[in-house]
């Protein structure tokens, strides 16, 4: 039985460790910067450290406090702040990723259940599932967007550009879900299946009461990978397909203004990291909810 106070204690400890990690990261960044600048400033005409390691002047590595301050800056006087723009972009990207992730999970599970039905189907189809991941998504993304604009009129709803980006997340998600899901569905011992048969359980009952619950511990690692891949995939997809509204576009915009204000790009990158963490966090919370009550306290 999970003891509540001890769960709370581990959670508090984990939060503390994470905060310490962030502080350490900031210190490392600042420390390297101070070290590099101290040496490089001793020489006027050439970079000592900066010629073979990342350059540490304020243009290349803006101070941490400047980056943090940039969240509150507005590009136009009285306009939306950079932090707000990043948040809006993050929510837009998160929606793309979430929709694609959900669709990918459903499709992946469906494939796993179909392949489960026969070894022959598994042997015949699985190589194609694996081969599907060799398609270079960056190249495909623009095609998918054009497709979405022109070729999907038969759909009952109007196809939006962001849905094409979701499709990329779907593509990245279905694969690990199908492969790990299949392994999980196959994980019950032959005896466990025979026991179900001795209760005259139907195939569907065996799937629902035995195979699906048994697959969860196999599924969640895949879902966690897929969650981050969905966010990264969505950002890359936005950039390569020119979809506006999300983090991808924001990163592209800010990268264009890097020379005059490098802090902005750092803000967008931090925003992208947080978005990815949120996605994994949601999956991890679902995992804890579903798996913790198994006696063997998950993790």
């Amino acid at each position: 039985m999970a003891d509540l106070s001890s769960t709370r204690r581990t959670r508090a400890r984990r939060t503390l460790i994470f905060a310490a990690f962030l502080v350490a990261l900031a210190l490392l960044y600042t420390g390297y910067k101070a070290f590099g600048q101290a040496i490089d400033d001793s020489q006027r005409d050439w970079w000592v450290v900066g010629s073979f390691l990342p350059r540490s002047d304020d243009k290349n590595m803006p101070p941490v406090l400047d980056i943090l301050a940039e969240f509150g800056e507005a590009p136009r006087e009285g306009g939306t702040t950079i932090g707000r723009l990043t948040l809006d972009g993050a929510l837009f990207t998160l929606r793309e990723a979430a929709v694609g992730f959900a669709a990918g999970t459903i499709i992946g599970l469906a494939i796993a259940v179909v392949l489960l039905q026969s070894r022959r189907a598994e042997r015949g189809v699985l190589p194609y599932v694996i081969a599907s991941q060799t398609v270079p998504l960056i190249a495909i993304a623009p095609i998918v967007v054009v497709w979405g604009r022109t070729g999907l009129e038969f759909l009952p709803w109007e196809w939006q550009d962001w849905m094409s980006v979701s499709l990329i997340a779907t593509y990245l998600t279905f694969f690990p879900v199908a492969v790990n899901g299949l392994r999980g569905l196959q994980s019950p011992s032959p005896e466990a299946t025979e026991l179900m048969q001795s209760y005259a359980a139907s195939r569907r009952q065996i799937l629902r009461r035995l195979q699906l619950p048994a697959s969860l511990p196999f599924l969640f690692p895949a879902l966690r990978i897929a969650a981050t891949a969905s966010v990264v995939g969505a950002i890359v997809g936005e950039i390569s397909a020119g979809v506006r509204g999300g983090l991808g576009r924001l990163i592209l915009d800010f990268a264009g203004k890097y020379i005059t204000g490098p802090e902005r790009l750092y803000v967008a990158i931090i925003g992208a990291c947080i978005t990815g963490l949120v996605a994994v966090g949601v999956v991890a919370a679902a995992e804890r909810l579903l798996l913790a009550r198994r006696g063997i306290v998950a993790q």
Binding site: E191, A192, M196, S198, Y199, R209, R293, G295, I296
Partner: protein, 259 residues
Amino acid sequence: MAQDLVLEIAGLEKTFNPGRSNAVTAISDLYLAVRPREFVSIIGPSGCGKSTLLRLVGGLIEPTAGELSVNGRSAQEARLGRDYGMVFQAAGLLDWRTAIRNVELPLELMGWSKLRRRKRAKEMLELVDLGGFASHYPAELSGGMQQRVSIARALSFEPSLLLMDEPFGALDEMTREYMQTELLKIWRETATTVIFITHSIPEAVFLSTRVAVMSPRPARIAAELPIDLPERTPQTRDTEEFFRDVSLVRRTLRSVEGQ
């Protein structure tokens, strides 16, 4: 076929992968009849086909030839009619379900109402002396306790035939003897017929009304020895009659293996 038999097997044969180079005839020309309320132990050399026999009886695999009827119908029909409770060496509990929810599983599949199956599962857990562990997960139970949950589950829907494949094989000696006494108690209380596979001769003698000795592969029933102990309590294991029957079974097994 006689109606008063729970199990009747005639000329049973099972060949795995027939016609291929890796064909194995596990069972050949096997005869066995079991009456209601009997406790029949099956003992035999390792790998002779005991588990195969049990799975044939349970309708989990199809025989290659021969006849097999359970309560006057085919093994498949009996399985679909839920005539069997099965217990394997591994308890096979679903580790995401509590003890009581594990016992409820077959009842759930049969569409019992929540209230009814809760009540029955509770009774069954009490029958195996685990009334206080209803909300424990398998990981929180000892091996012997898990096996008792497994027995409670097998009996929950009152099958007419309990099929057990080395159910106590993974338990230590003390737990094992305790479980044997427990099983006899349950057997008396529930009016079930039991077919019990074991590697332990004392276990077979202590539990059974009859011991069937199987020959090496391809297996048949080489000898059937009725066991007629006056009573079966933990003290029985130290009696003259018990030793006599144990050595009788041992000699029979040895002569069968030597053939």
